[in-house]
C-alpha cells in the first residue's frame, strides 16, 4: 500500500462505503463558527449533490480502512474477499473533511470502518479522528460515526461526545440470519450497544424547569440499517424488527438497503437485481408507522404473505382492504382518520385542519391544500363530491394498480 495516492485511497474507501444508505445531516444541535473554528449545523440537513442512483450526498462517507477481520457474507470488505485494500491515516481523513467542507461540498463526515486488529483498536482510531476534527480544528459541522458493536462501553461513551450521530447496523432483520451470514456479529451485543447509546443520551439531557433540553451526547441520535433481500425475512418481519428498534432504543431512523451486487461476491449469497421497489415500499411503510399512526400488523397484514404490495403504496393498499371505513367526511373527520386517507400527507392534513376552521372545504380546496386527488377522490366526501359507487366498485384496485406487464417471448 506504500505509495498509494490519496486519490486512489479515496476511490477505494468511498466505493467501500456506499452500501451504507444513510447520509442524513439533520436534527442535531445548532452550532456555528462565529466564535471560532469552521462550520455550522442549523437543524435542517443539506444534500450537496445527488448521484445517478438518486441518493443524496450530504457527508463525506468513507471507510477509515476496508481491511477487515470479519467475514460477513453480504459485505464487499469481508476478510475472504479479494477486493483491493487501503487505509487512511488520521490526518488524511481530517484534511479531506476540512478541505471538502471549505469548498461547500459536504455537511461533514460519515466515518465507518472495517475491523482491524480488534473492535476496540478500530473504534479508538475512529474516535481519534472525530476528536481531532472537533478539538484541534474547531470543526462545527456534522459527524456521524458508525460504531463497532463489540467495542468497549468507554469508547462508545467517548464517541458520543464528538459525534452528532452514532449508528450501529443491525444488518439483517432476524437473529438467525445475522448468526448465519455474519458469524462474528452477535445480535444481542448489537442491541445492548444500542440500549447503551439510548440510556447515555437520555442521561445527558439537562433537565430544566422548561422541560427536557436536547441531548449533549450524540445530539442527532442514533440510526441503523437493515439489508433487504439477503435473507428470507418477509416485510412483516422486517417492519416489526424496525418497530422494536424505534421503540426500544429511540432510533431516529431505520434505513432499509436493498441487497445489491458487490464486486467479488460471496458464493453464499446469490447476486440478484436489487429489490428497489420493495425497499421503496418499506420506507413508505416505515413512514406510516412513525407519522401516521399505523401499526405493523395493519400495514403488513393486508396480504397473507406478509409482504407489501409492490404495485401500490401501502396506505392505498390498506385503504382498499378497509373500504368500510370510507368515504370520509373531510370537514368532520378526526386527524387520526384524515391521516389514513390515501393521497393525504401529514402537511395536507394539518392544512385541512387549519383551513376548515375558516370555511367548509370543497373538492377544489383539497387539491389546493396539497392533496393528491387522483388517489384521494375515491375515499373522501365533501359538499358537492361523493365517490358514490366508486368506493364499492370491484375494479377500484385496477384503477390504481399499474397494468400487468406483458410476458415476453424470447
Amino acid at each position: 500500500m506504500a505509495g498509494m495516492t490519496l486519490e486512489r485511497k479515496l476511490a477505494i474507501l468511498s466505493d467501500a462505503a456506499k452500501y451504507d444508505a444513510s447520509c442524513a445531516s439533520s436534527g442535531t444541535e445548532k452550532r456555528d463558527s462565529r466564535t471560532g473554528g469552521i462550520g455550522s449545523t442549523e437543524g435542517a440537513g443539506i444534500c450537496h449533490a445527488y448521484t445517478p442512483d438518486g441518493r443524496c450526498v450530504s457527508l463525506l462517507k468513507i471507510l477509515m480502512t476496508n481491511f477487515c477481520i470479519f467475514d460477513c457474507a453480504y459485505c464487499v470488505n469481508r476478510v475472504s474477499s479479494n477486493v483491493e485494500r487501503a487505509r487512511f491515516s488520521v490526518e488524511e481523513v481530517v484534511s479531506l473533511t476540512l478541505e471538502f467542507y471549505r469548498r461547500n461540498y459536504i455537511e461533514g463526515l460519515f466515518l465507518s470502518s472495517g475491523i482491524i486488529r480488534s473492535p476496540d483498536a478500530t473504534m479508538a482510531d475512529m474516535v481519534r479522528i472525530a476528536k481531532t476534527l472537533r478539538v484541534e480544528h474547531g470543526f462545527k459541522g456534522y459527524i456521524h460515526l458508525k460504531t463497532i458493536p463489540d467495542a468497549s462501553a468507554e469508547l462508545l461513551d467517548e464517541a458520543g461526545l464528538y459525534a452528532d450521530r452514532l449508528s450501529i447496523n443491525i444488518e439483517l432483520p432476524q437473529d438467525e440470519s445475522i448468526r448465519e451470514l455474519a458469524p462474528e456479529k452477535r445480535p444481542e451485543t448489537i442491541r445492548t450497544a444500542m440500549g447503551r447509546v439510548h440510556l447515555t443520551r437520555e442521561a445527558s439531557r439537562d433537565r430544566s424547569h422548561k422541560g427536557t433540553r436536547p441531548a449533549k451526547f450524540a445530539p442527532a441520535g442514533q440510526s441503523t440499517q437493515m439489508i433487504v433481500g439477503a435473507d428470507r425475512a418477509n416485510d412483516a418481519a422486517i417492519l416489526s424488527t424496525a418497530s422494536r428498534l424505534y421503540t426500544g432504543y429511540g432510533l431516529k431512523r431505520v434505513y432499509y438497503s436493498a441487497f445489491s451486487p458487490i464486486p467479488d461476491a460471496s458464493s453464499v449469497l446469490p447476486l440478484v437485481k436489487p429489490p428497489l421497489m420493495r425497499e421503496h415500499r418499506l420506507y413508505q411503510a416505515d413512514w406510516l408507522m412513525r407519522f401516521y399512526g399505523f401499526e405493523v400488523d395493519e400495514i403488513a397484514g393486508v396480504a397473507p404473505s406478509g409482504n407489501l404490495d409492490l404495485d401500490m403504496d401501502p396506505k392505498l393498499a390498506w385503504a382498499l382492504a378497509n373500504r368500510a371505513d370510507f368515504p370520509l367526511d373531510v370537514n368532520r373527520a378526526s386527524r387520526e382518520m384524515l391521516l389514513r386517507v390515501p393521497g393525504f400527507g401529514t402537511k395536507t392534513v394539518n392544512r385541512i385542519l387549519g383551513a376548515r376552521r375558516h370555511a367548509v372545504l370543497r373538492y377544489d380546496d383539497l387539491a389546493r391544500l396539497g392533496a393528491v386527488m387522483k388517489k384521494a377522490r375515491a375515499f373522501v366526501s365533501v359538499p358537492g363530491w361523493s365517490p358514490k359507487g366508486l368506493i364499492d366498485s370491484a375494479d377500484l384496485r385496477a384503477r390504481f394498480a399499474p397494468p400487468a406487464e406483458q410476458l415476453q417471448l424470447i
Binding site: 476478510v79 445489491s260 467479488d264
Partner: protein
C-alpha cells in the same frame, strides 16, 4: 391611479414603504399599478406614511415572496395586504386561492435558497501576504433574488475564511469578518482548484451502478444548477459505464479467499464468548443464560437479565420479568417497580446487597407502540404459561445453586413459576408454602402497586408488601 416605480436596488424596502402607505389609505389593489408604467392619466403621488400593523406571518411571507423573480409578486402581495385590513384570519387559511398562490411563490424561493446553500462551490484563491485568512470565491446562478437572504448563512458557516459569492444579480462578500451585499457581476474566471478532482473521484465512487434512479437525481438536483457544479461533468461517463460494471459483478465467478482469511476467522471466532459446555456453578449458569434461545423472546428483547446478589443469599426475591429499564441495562429491578421494591425493602430492614433478585422470565416481553404524534413506547406484555415454564429451567438453577432459606414470589407470574398456581395472592400472601425448590412466600408485585388506579388499594398493597418483606426477613434471620 397611483403608480409605483421600484428602483433597481433597494426595491424590497421601496415596496414595503409604498405598500404601507397605500394600505393605510385603503387604496384598492385594482387601482395601483406596480409595474412603474403610468397609464393614460398622470400618476397620483403616494399617500402619506401612517402606522400600520400586520401579522408576523405576513411579514415573513412578504420577505420571502419579494425574493421571487415573478414581476407580479408586488401586486399579489399588496392584494393580500389590503385584504388583511378586513379579513384578519386569511393568513391562517391555506385554501384561499390568493394564499395558495403566494405560498407557492414562497415555496419556490425557499427551495432555491436551500439549493443555493447546497450547490454553491467555492474555489480557493491564491493567498495574499497581508491576509492570513484563506480566500475563496464562487460563481452561482440562482433562480431568484436570494443572495442577500442567504449570505448570513454562509457567514455563520465559513467564519474563519474570506469568501465571495457572485451571481448575475447580486453578490455577497465576507472579508475579515465583515459581510456586505452588492450588485451582481458577469461570470469571473476563477483559478483551478485541485480539490475538485478529489471531489469528483468521491462522487464517482460513492455511486452504486446497480441502482440507477435518474429521475430521483434530476428532481433533487435540477439540471439548471449543473453548469456550476464540477462533479456533474462525470455523470455521463458514470452512466455509460454502469451497466458494464453490474454485468461484470454478476458474471464474475466466486474467487478463492486469500490464504490467511480462514486463519483470521478461526482465531476471532474461537475467542468469541459462548455458552459453557457444562453448568456446575452459578456463574456458568448465568453465562449460559446469556446465550439462551430456549423460547422466542430472546429475539425481541435486548438481552438476558440474569439475577444479581450474593451467591449465598438467604433470601431470593423473584419478580415477573424485566421491564423496559431492566432490559436496556441488563439488571433486575432497576426501573420504577424496582424503586418501589427498594423502598419497601428499606422499610423492612432488608438491603439489596444481601438478597438475590431475579425474575421468573429472563427476557422482556413487550409490544412496540408508535403514535402519529411521535410517541415511541414498549408496552409490557404478560408472559404466557409456556414462556414461564420454559424459563423455569433457569429459575430452578438459581434456586439450586443459591439454596435460599426462603424464596419470595412477587405477583402471579412468579407465584405460578414457583408453586404451579397463579391465583389467590390476596389469600395466600405472607404464608410459607413448601415446594420442591424449598419454602416459598407470596406477595404483591411492585408494578401492581404502580398500576392499581385506586390510591387506597395501592397504599394497602404497599403496606402489605413491607409487611411480607419483614416476615421474610425474620424467616431467614
Amino acid at each position: 391611479m397611483p403608480v409605483v416605480v421600484l428602483p433597481d436596488t433597494g426595491w424590497r424596502e421601496a415596496w414595503r414603504d409604498a405598500a404601507r402607505r397605500l394600505a393605510a389609505a385603503d387604496v384598492p389593489p385594482d387601482e395601483v399599478a406596480w409595474d412603474g408604467v403610468a397609464g393614460l392619466f398622470a400618476p397620483e403621488p403616494l399617500p402619506p406614511a401612517q402606522p400600520l400593523t400586520v401579522p408576523r406571518a405576513f411579514v415573513d411571507l412578504a420577505d420571502t415572496v419579494l425574493c421571487h423573480r415573478d414581476p407580479e409578486r408586488f401586486a399579489l402581495l399588496y392584494r393580500l395586504l389590503h385584504r388583511l385590513r378586513h379579513e384578519r384570519g386569511i393568513m391562517g387559511n391555506p385554501a384561499d386561492p390568493l394564499m395558495a398562490r403566494l405560498e407557492a411563490l414562497a415555496k419556490s424561493v425557499r427551495r432555491d435558497s436551500h439549493k443555493m446553500r447546497a450547490f454553491v462551490r467555492f474555489r480557493e484563491l491564491p493567498g495574499t501576504d497581508d491576509a492570513p485568512r484563506r480566500r475563496f470565491a464562487a460563481w452561482f446562478e440562482p433562480e431568484h433574488f436570494i443572495v442577500a437572504r442567504n449570505a448570513p448563512f454562509f457567514a455563520r458557516r465559513f467564519a474563519d475564511m474570506d469568501w465571495t459569492i457572485l451571481t448575475p444579480d447580486e453578490r455577497a462578500d465576507f472579508i475579515k469578518g465583515e459581510l456586505s451585499v452588492g450588485p451582481g457581476a458577469p461570470k469571473p474566471d476563477l483559478p483551478e482548484d485541485a480539490s475538485e478532482a478529489l471531489w469528483t473521484t468521491y462522487f464517482t465512487n460513492i455511486f452504486n451502478p446497480a441502482r440507477i434512479k435518474l429521475d430521483a437525481m434530476r428532481s433533487e438536483m435540477p439540471v439548471k444548477y449543473w453548469k456550476n457544479m464540477p462533479e456533474t461533468q462525470a455523470i455521463p461517463a458514470m452512466l455509460a459505464d454502469a451497466e458494464r460494471r453490474v454485468i461484470q459483478m454478476r458474471s464474475a465467478a466466486a474467487t478463492v479467499a486469500p490464504a490467511r482469511a480462514a486463519q483470521i476467522s478461526e482465531r476471532y471466532r474461537s475467542a468469541m464468548p459462548k455458552a459453557p459446555d457444562r453448568i456446575d456453578t452459578l456463574e456458568q449458569a448465568g453465562e449460559a443464560a446469556r446465550h439462551c434461545t430456549r423460547c422466542h423472546l430472546h429475539c425481541d428483547a435486548t438481552q438476558t437479565v440474569w439475577g444479581e446478589g450474593p451467591a449465598d443469599a438467604r433470601l431470593m426475591i423473584v419478580g415477573e420479568q424485566p421491564g423496559d429499564h431492566e432490559d436496556l441495562q441488563g439488571r433486575p429491578f432497576v426501573g420504577p417497580a424496582g424503586e418501589i421494591l427498594a423502598e419497601a425493602m428499606g422499610k423492612a430492614g432488608l438491603a439489596r446487597e444481601e438478597v438475590w433478585l431475579t425474575n421468573a422470565v429472563k427476557h422482556f416481553k413487550f409490544k412496540p407502540q408508535m403514535t402519529a404524534r411521535g410517541g415511541k413506547r414498549r408496552l409490557h406484555q404478560n408472559p404466557d404459561r409456556a414462556e414461564i415454564d420454559i424459563c423455569k429451567w433457569w429459575l430452578d438453577l438459581e434456586q439450586r445453586f443459591i439454596q435460599p432459606k426462603l424464596t419470595l414470589a412477587l405477583g402471579g407470574t412468579a407465584a405460578y413459576a414457583l408453586t404451579g398456581r397463579k391465583e389467590g395472592i390476596t389469600r395466600r400472601r405472607g404464608k410459607v408454602e413448601e415446594t420442591e425448590g424449598g419454602p416459598v412466600m407470596l406477595s404483591w408485585h411492585p408494578s401492581y402497586i404502580l398500576r392499581v388506579p385506586d390510591v387506597g388499594a395501592a397504599n394497602e398493597a404497599r403496606a402489605q408488601l413491607v409487611e411480607d418483606l419483614r416476615l421474610a426477613a425474620r424467616f431467614v434471620a
